[in-house]
Symmetry: D2
Subunit: 214 residues, 4 copies
């Protein structure tokens, strides 16, 4: 597959380059703070950058009519709406988290939420000191799965790749569901899975859950 | 309700006496290491003792034709089979754990188990230093929910009321589901809920999941 | 010992009454939202209430010239200053936490703090939903032991008796020190130890660390 | 620095090659399951392999009269004794764990151990599924710091780089000290620090604590 990356020089950008390279896909387009580089037209575009790059991403997708894998966090409601619109023209896969385990965590939240009347719920998320937005996009997905707003505590700590906890607390017991990413590679592998999924679609707005469901 | 307890002087026995007393139920029969005491015929019998008391429990249930709430852990396969037989005559509710949160934990395990091919699974359970059997009955229930045998590490630590963790580990991420009992009261409340459930039944072999489902 | 309690009907007040009663000490004075009750002059006064009761506490200590065990959290700088002054007349033992384990946690923080240059530090504290102040007094003690201000995340969750974590995060590793109170009894036992310590002193302003050191 | 590695193709071997390469040190000797390769005489030899390679390591150290950094776990008492002997001729730095955080964990254990009379202690260690020995060498160091034998539970889980917990449990509270390695890079950096330390020594048997102390 010939692919392009917005945010190629970022931590996730580098990880994606590594994983796609191992699987013998070819990077033909990059865009980041150092500028733009293009060898050929990409078949799929991956964006792991910052919300500021959003207009450029839309421009590139429309120019090449290619699938988009959108992993940038901190997007606003209007930008998410635009992505849904874009899904009418090309395949768009948007997620704040491309790991299998987070999808399982979300499923567990949905399983539990109707059975804990009167319990308190708290969420914590811990990430490396370089993460700019808070709370994490994944924490927002957790609140959406829960179906209501609850407090989120954001910790920024050394080199932690990503840890999310949700606590359900009754007066006599606590249930805790936790996910720990051991490295960014996990996410890059989910992005690859998503790119392969997107390559088979004509258009549509998809989540990583759709990718997992095949 | 008039009720009896096998194991009345144990830690769980005392907790049950407290919770049932608050709800104005009357203890009319006790049996423990100090002997037997009977005021009246019980309507329901609760057993939180040791497997050694099992024959006595069966004798009492049959003598009074009463419902049985069985919370003793460490029972063998034959004893569990006898309880199922007994369920044909009277209502029998058997569980290794009478908390709501553990039931939720088991449901999450069932939700996750088919989606983690190739991942490792480990269970840990931590209980106060006085707990005699290991692994805990709850850990056994967790393995049953998972549908396969996995390692269980048992920690015995001070006054811990009960903590269970199950870890699902992929190469790039870990999903952890944890339950902490803050006090034995949680379990005693589940026993009360079970006794009220049993009082409405003629016979049958039930789990605490059945009680929760109403 | 004849003792009095400010905040006798609160959760900690009741726990203290229980522990002191078991050790055959006699409660001769109480003060709480329902009013004041006095049988005799106390030899030591215990305050586990709210900052609003502070003037009353000072009044009682001065009236009876008795030792004070001050466990109320959320006191302001001025009130703490007044306690130090009071220590010139009677023994005053002030702590935001009367458990042995928290003292050990503080000692570990002091051991580690000079050896983690460039690492991030985060604190979390989790307490039952009824706790009114945040962050907890114990979290404040942890920051003092660390010698610098760091973020504290406060979670309020069901019936949790009290949990404190401090995370030291480097780029390649994380060190976590955690304390969990299993029940309020732990604190009440520390209060008893403090009352016995105070009974042997003429005056002075002490911490629970002094009590532990004997 | 010109260095050699025993176990060059293992997971730690590769990580060490990367970190030393970044710092512009030159690998001139390797030995592993695929054989031996030598360009020049090394100034320091690093062994992160298996106990079976121990005789070869001793042979190489003696042949080139070079410093040894020994990180292989699972060595027996006799082999450790031989290393101490070897320290009379060349600098030998032996540790089961080359991270700063583990040294801090050990210091905390030493601080706490004399103050928890009557408490229970439990250790757990979790590592990736490829780790062959159990319990981990680090868990053994933790028991040594504690000064007595306590139960160690070993979990093998997916891609976990290394996690160690020690639990101190009283009847009313629990103190937990935990270390998590986020990646093997942490250890490789400790090995580099040790190699630079060794380069300044004539002989002696050192631990990583000595390296940290400078």
């Amino acid at each position: 597959m010939k692919y392009g990356i917005i945010g190629a020089s970022g931590k996730m950008g580098k990880e994606i380059l590594g994983v796609f390279d191992e699987a013998q896909h070819i990077c033909v387009y990059t865009y980041d703070v150092d500028g733009e580089a293009q060898i050929e037209a990409p078949e799929v575009l991956i964006d792991f950058s910052l919300p500021a790059a959003f207009p450029k991403t839309i421009e590139i997708v429309k120019k090449f009519k290619v699938a988009l894998i959108m992993g940038t966090t901190g997007l606003n409601a209007e930008q998410l709406e635009l992505l849904k619109e874009l899904g009418k023209e090309v395949p768009v896969i948007q997620s704040f988290n491309f790991s299998v385990g987070i999808q399982l965590l979300l499923q567990c939240i949905e399983r539990v939420k109707g059975q804990v009347d009167g319990w308190d719920v708290e969420i914590t998320e811990t990430h490396h000191r370089f993460k700019k937005d808070k709370p994490s996009g994944t924490a927002i997905m957790m609140k959406q799965a829960l179906g209501r707003d609850v407090p989120v505590s954001s910790l920024r700590l050394g080199g932690v790749a990503g840890e999310h906890n949700i606590y359900f607390g009754g007066l006599g017991e606590t249930l805790t569901l936790s996910h720990t990413a051991l490295s960014r590679r996990t996410f890059a592998e989910g992005v690859l899975k998503s790119a392969l999924f997107a390559a088979k679609k004509q258009s549509g707005f998809y989540s990583f859950r759709d990718v997992m469901a095949g």
